[in-house]
């Protein structure tokens, strides 16, 4: 908390008093503080949104992990979430397919719409939601099954293929789109855990796209990989955005700059600033964003 408090105090001295007041600060004209609530700098909406998140708060027990975050995810677009460790970016994307449900102590407030449907609504099914919003994790986590079965797992449980040929086709096209087909086409029966780290992560991506989601969430997908494997995945992400909306959490600003069209900067559970990637990296509006991007902390 110390850094945030310090910076905010520099810019908005009255914050500690908790008074309701709007102050314009020359360095960051859009900053407004209402009580303890922070208003994001930049345009968090999108012209063609798949996901619209509004005023999302997440609590882990007593810990207020995300505070009042609103953000749109645009179609056929990559948005990267950056920020220092523990700032809530992973927590945020875990809200989008309700992965936080699997943590007993997690509570999510706010509105998240997928194609206009509230994902917390009673008629929205979590199984259906996750089929539509796929997720790739930080550490490659192929199931202890064959390469084929890893990719076929999603289509099988969801009943997406009517017969074996159709399943074969889905597996093949998913592996092709994940750029893995040529490498594994002769090893489909071997365990997925036997592949290299980069291949495993692409297998996990193939596994996700095999279900045919609308949005793919990627939680630091390259943090466990070497530079060559990372380059592979980045190319793949660029390719995938033709069909999917992609949200990528990353620690690497270079990666964010390379793969994404929009960038959102999180800091201590708040979404500080959103904007086009070019603008965020060349002309950040908020002091915190600038500090982070120029490497003063992170």
């Amino acid at each position: 908390m110390s850094q945030a408090t310090k910076v905010e105090k520099d810019t908005v001295p009255q914050v500690g008093a908790g008074t309701v007041e709007e102050t314009s600060v020359p360095a960051a004209p859009d900053i407004r503080v209402v009580g303890d609530t922070y208003r994001t700098v930049g345009d968090y909406t999108s012209a063609n949104p798949v996901v619209r998140a509004r005023n999302v708060d997440v609590f882990y027990g007593d810990n207020h992990a995300i505070q009042n975050v609103s953000l749109d995810i645009g179609k056929n677009q990559v948005i990267s979430l950056i920020g220092p460790s523990g700032c809530g970016k992973s927590t945020f994307i875990r809200c989008l397919n309700r992965m936080n449900d699997t943590i007993d102590i997690a509570r999510v407030h706010g509105e998240i719409l997928l194609d206009g449907e509230d994902i917390h609504a009673r008629r929205m099914d979590v199984v259906m939601l996750r089929a539509r919003v796929g997720m790739v994790f930080q550490k490659p986590n192929p199931f202890p099954k064959s390469v084929y079965d890893n990719v076929a797992y999603g289509p099988r449980i969801h009943g997406l293929a009517r017969n074996r040929q159709e399943l074969d086709r889905i597996v093949r096209s998913s592996l092709e789109r994940a750029g893995l087909w040529t490498e594994v086409k002769d090893r489909l029966d071997e365990p997925g855990t036997g592949l290299s780290g980069g291949q495993q992560q692409r297998l996990c991506i193939a596994r996700t796209i095999a279900v045919g989601p609308e949005v793919i969430l990627m939680d630091e997908p390259c943090s466990a990989l070497d530079p060559i494997a990372t380059a592979h995945i980045e190319d793949l992400i660029d390719e995938l955005k033709k069909n999917f909306a992609i949200v990528i959490v990353t620690h690497s600003m270079q990666q964010a700059a390379r793969v994404s069209q929009r960038t959102a900067y999180f800091h201590l559970g708040r979404l500080i600033e959103v904007g086009d990637t070019d603008q965020i990296f060349t002309n950040p509006q908020h002091e915190l964003t600038e500090d982070y991007i120029t490497g003063r902390f992170g």
Partner: protein
């Protein structure tokens, strides 16, 4: 004078040795003005160890050699007629002599010869004890003196004492090895004697088991039949039923408690299931014989089935209940070892919890679960009290769980209870069965432990 007084004397000497060694080191230090290498206590221990260990070793060797020596000496003085008796009867005579000496009940009125032998036995024992006392005193004092004179400030007493302690610790760790060797050799030795009388082929593949020795020589099967196949079949039948109960129930409760149940339910149900593991097997046996057996019989009558009151089903069911906590706690460990990543991966694709468990967690945990099941099977096969109390005695070769069958462990117990002689094929057969049981469970255990170990390494 009983031989334990020798030990008391030795203990006294050891204490004296400690005090002497300690005092000498302190004096030596003050006389020479040098600092001792170790603390005084270590010098005391050094002398004490030297005093006690060699004498103790001698004591043990003496105790081992004494009975054989006395036996030959006593028997040597007996009449030729007695000595011509076969080995087994000679043993009985000798037992009588010993019983007489120890004041136990003797078979019949002792003859003069036996009385004479008994008095000779007593005098020999007295001489032996006296000799032991002297020998221990001499050895102990000699080594004490030797070690005492070596005490000087430069002696690295601590290192030597610690070295001997380390050796002691190492010796303790070999007990496990010796136990295994002991089990194997003792069972093997008696089993080999059995196989001199009954061919191993008949034992392993024979279809009829009736070890009863005949009362009249013309009785049918007077030689006894030692075909163990019905026993294996019975063991497998009962253990099979037990596993059919224990594996699904144990596995499903492990799954429920680790994946579904909320913390309150878990903190209540888990210890309750563990109570099942703490109940002694004899209690399960009593329950199987007095409650479950009759209950099944009544139930069978209601259905028009004839259920034996010692049916394999009853014993198997109760044995299965006994093994539930075993399966569930092993499965629980294994399921919890499956990394959260895999669960997340599956949930992230939209799988339901049961799909995740069945298609991701269980396959990932399979080796560990198989290992646990093998250990449980080994326990079922070796389980004794339940089957002794609730299964039959007659060796039926049947696959019908409603009939009474017998098992390997039941036969071991019935063959050995109350039987004193050690040469009949009947008693020796118990050891052959024991050998078989030991080897089977050993193989199962080693495979299971390997599988579980490799599984653990995979996720560490």
């Amino acid at each position: 004078m009983p031989s334990s007084t020798v030990l008391v004397a030795l203990l006294g000497m050891t204490v004296v040795a400690y005090v002497l060694g300690r005092r000498r080191s302190v004096r030596a230090a003050s006389n020479t003005g040098l600092t001792c290498h170790s603390l005084p206590g270590y010098y005391g221990s050094y002398v004490a160890i030297w005093c006690a260990l060699p004498a103790l070793l001698l004591y043990c060797l003496w105790q081992l050699a004494e009975p054989g020596f006395i036996r030959t000496q006593v028997l040597a003085t007996m009449s030729a007629a007695t000595l011509e008796l076969p080995e087994a009867e000679l043993g009985l005579v000798y037992n009588d002599i010993r019983n007489l000496v120890e004041g136990n009940i003797v078979s019949g009125e002792p003859s003069d010869e036996i009385l004479a032998a008994a008095s000779r036995y007593m005098s020999l024992q007295r001489i032996s004890n006296l000799g032991l006392m002297l020998a221990v005193l001499i050895i102990g004092l000699t080594t004490l003196g030797w070690a005492f004179r070596r005490v000087e400030p430069g002696l690295r007493a601590r290192n030597k004492v610690e070295r001997s302690m380390e050796l002691l610790l190492m010796a303790a760790s070999t007990v496990a090895i010796f136990t295994t060797i002991g089990i194997f050799l003792s069972v093997l030795f008696e089993a080999l004697r059995f196989f001199q009388q009954v061919s191993p082929l008949e034992f392993l593949f024979g279809l009829s088991w009736s070890p009863q020795t005949a009362i009249r020589p013309d009785q049918v099967g007077s030689s006894g039949a030692f075909g163990a196949v019905p026993l294996f079949a019975g063991t497998l039948l009962i253990s099979g039923i037990a596993m059919l109960v224990a594996v699904p129930v144990g596995l499903m409760s492990a799954i429920y408690l680790s994946e579904y149940a909320n913390p309150q339910v878990r903190s209540f149900a888990k210890p309750m299931l563990e109570v099942l593991a703490g109940i002694p097997t004899v209690v399960y046996g009593y329950f199987a014989a007095l409650t479950v057996g009759p209950l099944l019989r009544q139930f069978g009558e209601g259905l028009g089935l004839s259920v034996s009151s010692e049916s394999a089903l009853g014993a198997g069911l109760v044995m299965g209940i006994m093994i539930i906590p075993f399966v569930s706690s092993l499965s629980d460990d294994v399921i919890n070892a499956v990394p959260q990543d895999l669960r997340d991966g599956s949930y992230g694709l939209g799988a339901t919890q049961s799909e995740t468990i069945r298609q991701v967690i269980l396959p990932a945990a399979l080796p560990g679960i198989v290992g646990g099941i093998l250990l449980a099977a080994s326990r079922a096969i070796g389980e004794t009290m339940i089957v002794v109390m609730a299964a039959g005695l007659a060796a039926n070769l049947t696959a019908n769980p409603l009939e009474a069958v017998t098992t390997v462990t039941v036969q071991i117990v019935t063959l050995l209870i109350g039987d004193q002689e050690f040469d009949s094929a009947k008693t020796l057969a118990a050891f052959a069965l024991g050998l078989l049981l030991f080897v089977t469970t050993l193989i199962l255990n080693i495979i299971a432990l390997r599988v579980v170990r490799r599984y653990r390494e995979q996720y560490e």
